[in-house]
Symmetry: C2
Subunit: 108 residues, 2 copies
């Protein structure tokens, strides 16, 4: 088994104000899916896009919205979001503090 | 897309003092893996067992230990745990408050 603090993983900047950490992935031996943690700064957003894989999201902290082509929902601590494969989406921080969420995706 | 509060999902009691919620699963259309959230009461523990599937865990709150046959580690908020397929393990709450963690597994 492998145990570590997620903040010890170096982040990559996916977009302005959007940091992504792969906290459990191929380096840990994950065979099927990987866990990432995102930090989104106030006013910043992940890109509006779609892809073949789903997202399973748990919001750790902050206030934001998640948008699809047809829909928009407020999100906050303790909320979960399922984005189906090929569904367009983005996550935007609408609050004053960081928006932090876990996002699990299949291993490509 | 589906958005809800994880606490709105009714829990099942897996063991004394151990509540499990499937917060994203087949009901939401998850095709490959499912997200669960566990609440473990002080002094309580998930069973020491193994199975073919891996665990990808994120600790939300509390203090505990995760044990395997060879190893034992303290866990707390912001720590992640990878349990490989077929590795024996259990999670025990050693603190005074609830131990809460996310645990993602493949869909069987």
């Amino acid at each position: 088994m492998i145990v570590h603090k997620y903040l010890d993983i170096p982040p990559t900047e996916d977009a302005p104000g959007v940091l992504r950490r792969v906290v459990i992935g191929p380096d840990e031996g994950a065979p099927r899916f990987i866990m990432r943690v995102f930090h989104v700064e106030p006013g910043c957003s992940t890109p509006f896009h779609s892809h073949w894989w789903e997202h399973e999201v748990f919001v750790l902290e902050g206030d934001g919205v998640v948008k699809s082509r047809e829909d928009e929902s407020k999100i906050g601590e303790g909320m979960v979001v399922f984005i189906a494969p090929n569904e367009e989406h983005c996550f935007t921080n609408t609050g004053n503090g960081v928006l932090r969420f876990i996002c699990v995706i299949p291993l490509s």
